[in-house]
C-alpha cells in the first residue's frame, strides 16, 4: 500500500510531527477506505457458498505459495458474467442512470434560478437565505423522505387538497410511482445543487454586467453571454454532486418509488440483505464504482482546483 512509501520518501527536513500529521489520516483512510475496496473486489471474484460468511475464504497466506495458487485458482468472473447476462441487473443500472439523469436535470432547472435569485438579494439577506437553504441538508435524509410520505400517500394532504379544489375527481396514486421518487430526490438534493452554483455566482464581478449593459446588452443577453458561462464551474460541481450519489441512491427509491423497477442501490441491498449473495452484491458494487469512476474523477479535479483558487 502506498502509505508505507510515504514514510520513507518524505524530504529530509520533515520532522516527526509532520510525518505523523500525514501518516495518521493516511493510514486510517488506507485501512478503512482503500483496503475494504480490495476486499470487495476479491469477494466479487469469489464463488457463492452456503456458509457464514457466505463466500469462499480470503487469501490464506499461512499456506505459503500453495495458498496464493489456490487463491488465484479460486478467482472467477462468474458473478460478472451473471450481472451482464441477467437482465435484472442490467436494467437496474440503466434505470439508475435514467433516474439520476432526469432528476439532475430537474434539479438544475429548479436550483439555478434559486441560486441566481439569492445573489440578486441585498448582502444581508443573502446570508439568511443561504442558511435557510442549507438547513434542510442538516436534517436526516430519511426524515425528509418520510415527510413526503405524509403528503403523498393515498389519503394524504396533496390528494386532499387536489380533491377539495376539484382538480381531480379521485385520489391520484403518488406513492410507489416515479412521481413520488422524483419529488423526493429533487427535494433531498436541492441544497447540493443550489450551493455550488450560488458560490460561483456570488464571486462574479458585477462590473462585467455593467460593462455589458454599457455596451448595449439587454439584461437577458448579459445573463446569457456573461453570467451563465462564468457560472459553469458551479453548475458542473452541482450536477456531479447530485448525479453521482443519486445513481447509488437507496432510501428514496425504496420508500417512495415502486419495487417493480428497482434502482441499482436497491438491487445491491436486496442481494446482500435478502438473498445473502455477497459475491453478487460485491460485483454490483465494483461495477457501480467503475461506472461512476469517470464522474468521481472529474468531481475531484474540480474540487482540487476550487481549493487551489481559494474560497
Amino acid at each position: 500500500m502506498s502509505a508505507s512509501s510515504t514514510d520513507s520518501s518524505v524530504t529530509p527536513a520533515r520532522s516527526l510531527g509532520q510525518r505523523l500529521v500525514i501518516l495518521v489520516p493516511y493510514l486510517w483512510l488506507a485501512a478503512f477506505f482503500l483496503l475494504p475496496f480490495g476486499i470487495v473486489l476479491k469477494i466479487s471474484l469469489s464463488e457463492t457458498a452456503l456458509a457464514q460468511p457466505p463466500y469462499v475464504p480470503l487469501l490464506d497466506l499461512s499456506a505459503g505459495w500453495d495458498g496464493i495458487k489456490a487463491f488465484l485458482g479460486g478467482l472467477s468472473l462468474d458473478r460478472y458474467g451473471l450481472i451482464f447476462s441477467d437482465s435484472l441487473y442490467l436494467s437496474s443500472y440503466l434505470r439508475s442512470l435514467e433516474v439520476a439523469t432526469l432528476s439532475t436535470l430537474m434539479l438544475l432547472a429548479i436550483g439555478y434560478p434559486i441560486a441566481y435569485a439569492v445573489t440578486r438579494m441585498p448582502a444581508r439577506t443573502q446570508g439568511v437565505l443561504v442558511l435557510l437553504i442549507v438547513l434542510p441538508f442538516w436534517t436526516s435524509f430519511l426524515i425528509r423522505v418520510y415527510a413526503w410520505i405524509n403528503i403523498l400517500q393515498h389519503d394524504g394532504l396533496l390528494n386532499q387538497a387536489l380533491l377539495a379544489l376539484g382538480l381531480v375527481s379521485e385520489p391520484i396514486a403518488f406513492l410507489a410511482t416515479d412521481k413520488a421518487l422524483y419529488i423526493g430526490l429533487v427535494y433531498s438534493y436541492l441544497p447540493f445543487m443550489v450551493l455550488p452554483i450560488y458560490a460561483t455566482l456570488v464571486k462574479l464581478d458585477d462590473t462585467l454586467l455593467e460593462a455589458a449593459a454599457d455596451l448595449g446588452c439587454r439584461r437577458w443577453q448579459a445573463f446569457w453571454w456573461v453570467t451563465l458561462p462564468l457560472s459553469l464551474p458551479g453548475v458542473a460541481a452541482g450536477v456531479l454532486l447530485c448525479f453521482i450519489p443519486i445513481v447509488g441512491e437507496f432510501v428514496a427509491p425504496d420508500l417512495l418509488g415502486g419495487s417493480v423497477d428497482p434502482m441499482v442501490g436497491q438491487t445491491l441491498w436486496t442481494e446482500f440483505f435478502a438473498n445473502k449473495d455477497w459475491p453478487v452484491a460485491s460485483a454490483i458494487a465494483v461495477t457501480l464504482l467503475l461506472l461512476l469512476g469517470g464522474p468521481i474523477l472529474i468531481y475531484q479535479h474540480l474540487q482540487a482546483r476550487n481549493l487551489r483558487v481559494g474560497p
Partner: protein, 270 residues
C-alpha cells in the same frame, strides 16, 4: 446598485423556500395531531411525545445514535484536521495525489458501496459488528467533510502568522496550539457539528456496519416507516429537526459574533 430582484427572482425564491420547508412544517404540525389517523386533524395534543418516552426500543436507539455520533464526530474532527493540515501546510509529499483522492472520495461515493465494503472488511477481520464498527465507519465517512471545512479555513489565512511564531523560536507543536488552532477553531466547531449531524442521520452505512446490539435511531425509524406512517414517527422526527435546527442556528450566530469581533482580520466565517 445594479442589483435588482426581478419578479421572477422573487417567485423562484418563494417557490424554493416553500418547497423546502412546507413538508417539514406539515410533519411538525401533524406530530401534534391528537388523532391516530395521520391524515385526519383531531386537534392539538402532545400525546405522541408522551408515547415516545415509553418506547424503550426508540429510546435505546436514540442513546446509541448519540454515543456513536459523539465518538465518531470527535475522531473525525481530529483525523480530518490532520488531513487538512497535511494537504495545506506540508506542501508536497509523495503519495499526496492518492491521499487527496481518498480524502475527497467518500463525499460522493454512494453509501451502499461504502457500507458494503466496510462490512466486508469487518467480516474478513472477524470483528463482531456493533457500536465500535459503526463508530469507525462513521468516522471514515465524516472525516472528509471536516477536512474540506478546515482546509478552506486554513487557505483563508496565509501561513505568515505561523512562520512568524516559528521564526521567533516557537516549536511547531506550540505554534499549532497557540496560533493555528485558535484561528481555525470555528471551522473545527462547524466540522464537528457537521460530522455529528451526518452520523446521527445515516441509515445506509449504519445498516451495513452495525450489529443486532447497536440499533441506531435511523435504523429504528426506517423499520417503522416501512410499516407505514405513524404519529410517533412524526414526533421523533420533529425532535430531531428541532435539535439540528437549534444547533445550526446557534453555530451560525456564534460565527457571526466572531466575525463582528474579528472584523477585518480576514478570518473566514465558519
Amino acid at each position: 446598485m445594479h442589483k435588482r430582484a426581478s419578479l421572477f427572482c422573487l417567485a423562484s425564491l418563494g417557490f424554493g423556500l416553500a418547497f423546502l420547508y412546507l413538508p417539514m412544517v406539515i410533519l411538525v404540525i401533524y406530530s401534534f395531531n391528537a388523532s391516530r389517523l395521520v391524515t385526519v386533524w383531531g386537534g392539538w395534543s402532545t400525546r405522541w411525545y408522551a408515547e415516545l418516552l415509553r418506547d424503550e426500543a426508540m429510546l435505546d436507539a436514540a442513546w446509541t445514535s448519540l454515543r456513536v455520533a459523539l465518538l465518531s464526530a470527535g475522531a473525525a474532527t481530529v483525523l480530518g484536521t490532520l488531513a487538512a493540515l497535511a494537504l495545506t501546510r506540508i506542501g508536497r509529499f509523495r503519495g499526496r495525489l492518492p491521499f487527496s483522492a481518498m480524502v475527497y472520495a467518500p463525499l460522493v461515493m454512494p453509501e451502499v458501496i461504502t457500507g458494503l465494503s466496510l462490512l466486508l472488511l469487518f467480516v474478513a477481520a472477524d470483528i463482531d459488528r456493533g457500536f465500535w464498527t459503526l463508530s469507525v465507519a462513521h468516522t471514515t465517512l465524516t472525516m472528509c467533510f471536516v477536512t474540506i471545512i478546515v482546509q478552506a479555513s486554513l487557505i483563508g489565512f496565509d501561513g505568515s502568522l505561523e512562520e512568524a511564531a516559528m521564526d521567533l523560536g516557537c516549536p511547531p507543536l506550540r505554534t499549532f496550539l497557540t496560533v493555528t488552532l485558535p484561528l481555525i477553531a470555528p471551522a473545527l466547531a462547524s466540522g464537528f457539528m457537521l460530522a455529528f449531524a451526518l452520523s446521527l442521520d445515516d441509515l445506509v452505512i449504519a445498516s451495513f456496519t452495525s450489529g443486532p446490539g447497536a440499533t441506531t435511531l435511523p435504523i429504528q425509524i426506517y423499520s417503522q416507516v416501512r410499516l407505514g406512517v405513524k404519529p410517533e414517527i412524526n414526533a421523533i422526527c420533529t425532535i430531531m429537526i428541532a435539535v439540528v435546527a437549534a444547533a445550526v442556528i446557534a453555530a451560525s450566530l456564534i460565527a457571526k459574533w466572531r466575525d463582528l469581533r474579528s472584523a477585518g482580520t480576514g478570518l473566514p466565517a465558519a
